[in-house]
């Protein structure tokens, strides 16, 4: 119900039927948004960040799960793996801000080892052109989540037993890993991976603190448009929000139709 209200109000505002700047029905706002490069840049930039984060985090988590195996769920390390999940994203962004910046912790360590003589010699990964700061921070949080997810699947699906069966049928370790273990883990985890990708796509706090003014991730771009003092930007912000909402809902419906979203209870 609140979502429906939000969508209806956004649609009315974007089409000139509601809001301070309402002057009758028009599709000009959508035409403005869809013909401006900013929207596509933000959208493309969000997809770029999402894909890199998910691919690297899943790869790292698979490696971590297969290396640590049962220690993840039962050993002492199992408690520590929850630490990144207990750190709010805004705090994670703050830690990265203080660690990866030009005068941050890494820069100071490099200085201590005489690898740099001035902070300007350290490139810094805050507001950097490739958004390495954003990607790095997102990967740390996502990897911890995926390690716990994969380890739970590893135990529930009795992957060790599958490994033994595969070996007894003559398969070597590498083949078993590529053709049995990794596909089982990925297949079971795919709904959570896609949902996580949707969260990364719409992430706000990390790109807000660590990102550049241009390009901006989609949530930051929309929120900034809402917060601008120019009233003509408000319908544009609503149109962008509506297009983003339609994109996310379409992704969820596709997942639902492919029976990847909701499992049988």
């Amino acid at each position: 119900m609140p979502l429906l209200l939000a969508v209806i109000y956004a649609a009315l505002n974007a089409t000139g039927l509601a809001g301070i700047d309402a002057h009758g029905f028009t599709l000009n706002t959508f035409i403005t948004v869809l013909s401006s490069s900013n929207f596509y840049t933000s959208f493309g930039f969000s997809i770029y960040i999402t894909l890199i984060v998910i691919i690297i985090a899943v790869a790292l988590a698979l490696w971590g799960t297969l290396t640590l195996k049962k220690d993840v769920l039962h050993g002492r390390i199992s408690y520590l793996l929850y630490v990144p999940l207990a750190v709010p994203v805004i705090v994670a962004a703050f830690i990265s801000f203080q660690s990866l910046g030009q005068s941050g912790l890494i820069s100071r360590i490099l200085y201590a080892f005489n690898l740099i003589s001035d902070p300007s010699q350290f490139a810094g990964f805050v507001n950097d052109p490739l958004s390495i700061g954003i990607i790095f921070t997102q990967i740390i949080i996502a990897s911890a989540f995926f390690v716990i997810l994969f380890s739970t699947i590893y135990e529930n699906e009795n992957v060790d037993r599958l490994h033994s069966v595969s070996s007894s049928l003559g398969s070597n370790h590498k083949t078993t890993l590529i053709k049995v273990i990794i596909p089982v883990l990925i297949k079971k985890a795919i709904p959570s991976i896609i949902l996580y990708a949707i969260f990364v796509f719409g992430s706000y706090e990390i790109p807000l603190l660590l990102g550049r003014q241009d390009p901006q991730m989609i949530s930051v771009a929309i929120a900034r448009k809402f917060q601008l003092y120019n009233l003509h930007d408000v319908p544009v912000a609503y149109a962008m929000a509506l297009l983003y909402t339609i994109f996310v809902i379409t992704c969820l419906i596709i997942l639902f139709r492919k029976k990847k979203l909701i499992h049988d209870v």
Binding site: P2, L3, L5, A6, V7, Y9, A10, T67, D71, G75, I77, S78, Y79, L80, L81, Y82, V83, P84, L85, A86, V87, P88, V89, I90, V91, F94, I95, Q98, L105, S107, R108, I109, Y111, A112, P119, I198, F199, G202, Y204, E205, L209, I218, S219, I222, A223, F226, A237, A241, Y244, T245, V248, I249, L252, I253, F256, L261, I262, H263, D264, V265
Partner: protein, 254 residues
Amino acid sequence: MFKKRPKFVVLWICLIFPILFLGMLAFSSTWRFPTLIPEFKDNSNFELMVSGDASFVMIFLRSVLISITVAIVSVATGFFIAKVIAFHKKRNLLLLLAYFPFALSPVVFAACLNYFFTLFLLSGTTPGVMIAQFIIVFPYAIILFNSHWGSGIIAYEQSAATLGGNAVQRFFRVTLPLSKNMLLIGFFQCFIISWFEFGLTNFIGMGQVKTLTVKVFQYIGEANIHLAAMSSLLLVIPPLLLLWANKKFVLRNY
């Protein structure tokens, strides 16, 4: 363990780094380049912590109040609504609808809803922030409890009904004991979602409802890294304790 497996040492250091780093920044007053360890010169940060508008005690208590209220209301309503949905003809469609507000970026959702909060004079108020957070935490509670209701619990309820138990007896003597752990997990997770929330809280609260996440952002904006670290530390401790308790006492019984 550590002698045999040095990789654990590296992992330990990496995982406890956020806490150590925040503690180091929070309990210091200056950190000039190129010093590695921040210096402690005076206790002005501590004075700010317990006095004036920046009183961390008040901000912490406000944040706890918001998160506990949101978590309790979400768990209480989500638990029963999830039961209705779990046995509804259109269960899958209703669950899909529950995913929508949960998957959208909270700040975008808040921006679109803000008009209604302004209309009902809820913008910039603590109840407004609670309602806004409830709108995204409640669907999560439904998704979480939906699988619980499908786990055979209804069969026990029906058995109790066959043996003559009325609705109240069935709830307090069958459903509640069987659902205790799940309710605790649900409470922890709903609390943490609310506790971590920044974008929506800042937008609906208009920066006037000062929770710990909002203060972290404000202190970063003011370049006061020590108070930002102190707020961050206070933000991290409750979820750590909850996750530890969750793993140690609740998941152990599952």
